[in-house]
């Protein structure tokens, strides 16, 4: 939904697309970039999922929460760095807006995917994960 909304912003001309036409920008730059971010975020969420699966049997909230949350942050950081580096190397038109959108996409997708895929007892290691997955009695 977020990507669709962002695509709409470019397609309607609400955000300037530089020398490229709006349609071309959406088709040739935004859509492939968002697709790659989506894919990479899901892959990194998959890495997190695999990692928590390994950690889960011996995970102790009291003593491991902060260190595991740091791992979650590290993976996200790698992801964001990758996007920034790709943007700097590619130097596309409307780089600032594109960058902001891709970073938002990346954070949201990664956060959602990890919050929902993390084993129940480890959910507090994902920031605000408990809010996303409340316990129903």
């Amino acid at each position: 939904m977020i990507i669709f909304f962002q695509r709409l912003l470019f397609a309607r001309g609400l955000i300037p697309t530089g020398s490229l036409s709006r349609a071309d920008y959406v088709e040739e730059i935004f859509t492939p970039a968002a697709g790659i971010v989506l894919l990479v975020s899901v892959v990194f969420a998959g890495i997190w999922c695999w990692r928590t699966g390994k950690l889960f049997p011996t995970f102790v909230l009291i003593s491991h929460k902060e260190s595991v949350r740091a791992q979650w942050g590290m993976i996200l950081l790698f992801l964001l760095l990758g996007i920034v580096v790709a943007l700097l190397l590619g130097r596309p038109e409307a780089m600032l807006w594109l960058g902001v959108f891709l970073v938002i996409d990346c954070v949201v997708i990664y956060w959602l995917a990890t919050a929902y895929s993390t084993p129940n007892l480890m959910v507090p290691t994902v920031p605000v994960g408990s809010w996303l997955r409340p316990i129903r009695r």
Partner: protein, 487 residues
């Protein structure tokens, strides 16, 4: 149905401790043909009621009863599958100390008031030292003194009469004590015979099942120093046992079944200095006491084969001379219940209790607890819930310490649980629990091919309208452990 346990002397107290712990584990609940459980009533007899063993027994019983009340109080009977843990009712029927009527044998028989001929008879049967021996710390390994005292006093004792009056047709009475000490060796035959007579003649109860457990020498101690006092001497144990067994061979007590349990010379290890009595007479638990409790289970679960003059004698032995494994526990059901209770105690102390403490600061983080409490409740636990946590924690501590000591005693290798996963004995031989590493849960039972991690148990807890609060959490924990443990 009720079973009355007459626990005699220090060994009786130690057996009762084992019985209470096994009752907590659900060993006295029988699933065939229907779920049936025995109410246990303990009648404790010891002239030295303040000895260390008796104090330990009282503490264990108090701890169990409080936990039993806590867990049972909130049960509304709607559980689909009733729990085994903490369901058996264990009541302190009475405690009786023969010395309440006098400090010495001479006092009890009112020696100065006796006719000269009776006084002479007393002098023939007992030496002057035995007549003047202070009974505050027991009969000091003198069964003849104990028999005289108990036989003289018990029949007029109100608590004994209460016992005889309370026992109903179909109830069971089980005597237990040692064959080699003072109180047990004297009380067992005396009380056994009197009880059989009183129940069958006075009350005309023919279907009351009577059983007994005699502990043959299974521990020893450093011989006492010669100080002129009458004392128990460990070197006499075997001779006394031999004489007592000859006695039981030729004198019918009126019991339906008699259990005898003893150790090999290697397991009768010297365990500290001799104590003639008092609070220092505290012997660490021994695995044979667990078998004593299993003898009670066997007694309760089997129907009498019809009374005859010949005494039925049960027999069990272990597979290896110097070690014990799960194969030496006679029933799979018992094995499983011991495993469940131990896993529960471990999980409660290592995970639940610290997590609930942590939840006061971060209530939404302890996910499994949110099924049983609102976050607000977790942040500010009520006094009742705090008390419930403490009560269950106390029982878990008591149980694991008992288990720890039982595994560490003697030279035999008791291989039921990996006790180093939850504690060790300190330099004074006192058990110290160390449950900081909850991940040792998976190593609790040696050689068990399982990937049963504590987090899988915690993740599988099932809250329900009936399972709420601390007790609901405890019940759900036990239920999950019992359903997920390998059998």
């Amino acid at each position: 149905m009720s079973t009355y346990i007459i626990a005699i002397g220090g060994t009786g107290a130690r057996l009762v401790e084992a019985i209470i712990h096994l009752a907590a584990a659900g060993v006295f609940i029988f699933e065939d043909p229907t779920l049936r459980q025995e109410d246990l009533h303990i009648f404790f007899i010891d002239p030295d009621s303040r000895n260390g063993n008796a104090i330990a027994r009282t503490e264990t019983l108090d701890c169990y009863q409080e936990c039993h009340r806590t867990v049972r109080d909130v049960s509304d009977g709607s559980d689909q599958k009733p729990l085994l843990w903490m369901q058996t009712s264990v009541k302190d029927f009475a405690s009786w100390s023969p010395r309440q009527r006098g400090r010495t044998l001479g006092d009890i028989f009112s020696r100065p008031d006796l006719r000269p001929s009776t006084r002479s008879l007393l002098d023939v049967l007992y030496t002057t030292r035995e007549q003047d021996m202070d009974l505050r710390e027991g009969f000091r390994g003198r069964p003849a003194v104990g028999s005289g005292v108990m036989g003289r006093l018990i029949q007029d004792e109100r608590r004994w009469q209460d016992l005889v009056r309370n026992v109903q047709e179909e109830d069971k009475v089980f005597l237990c004590g040692s064959i080699f000490g003072g109180t047990g060796a004297s009380g067992f035959p005396t009380l056994g015979r009197l009880l059989a007579r009183d129940l069958r003649k006075r009350r005309n109860l023919r279907n009351v099942k009577l059983g007994g457990l005699l502990m043959l020498p299974y521990f020893s101690f450093e011989p006492p120093t010669e100080d002129g006092e009458i004392n128990t001497h460990p070197d006499d144990f075997i001779l006394r046992t031999h004489a007592a067994l000859r006695y039981y061979e030729t004198h019918a007590l009126g019991l339906d079944i008699l259990y005898l349990l003893g150790g090999t010379p290697s397991s009768t290890r010297v365990q500290g200095r001799h104590n003639s009595g008092g609070k220092d007479q505290r012997n660490p638990p021994h695995f044979l006491e667990l078998y004593g409790a299993l003898a009670l289970r066997n007694f309760v679960s089997t129907e009498p084969r019809g009374r005859s003059d010949s005494l039925e004698v049960a027999h069990i032995s272990r597979q290896s001379e110097d070690s014990l494994s799960w194969r030496d526990i006679p029933e799979l059901q018992v094995q499983n219940r011991l495993k469940y209770a131990t896993r529960f105690a471990f999980a409660w102390l290592s995970a639940i209790s610290p997590d609930l403490e942590y939840a006061k600061r971060n209530p939404k983080d302890v996910r499994y607890a949110l099924g049983f409490f609102d976050p607000k409740q977790l942040r500010e636990l009520s006094d009742t819930e705090e008390r419930n946590i403490t009560v269950i924690k106390s029982w878990c501590t008591s149980y694991l310490k008992w288990l720890l000591e039982l595994h560490q005693f003697g030279t035999d290798q008791v291989g039921w649980f990996n006790c180093r996963t939850f504690g060790s004995l300190d330099n004074d031989g006192e058990p110290v629990l160390n449950l900081k590493d909850r991940n040792q849960f998976t190593n609790l039972i040696p050689n068990e091919d399982t990937n049963l991690y504590l987090n899988h148990i915690l993740d599988g807890l099932c809250p329900s309208p009936e399972h709420r609060g601390v007790v609901g959490l405890a019940k759900s924990l036990y239920a999950t452990i019992s359903s997920r443990s390998p059998t």
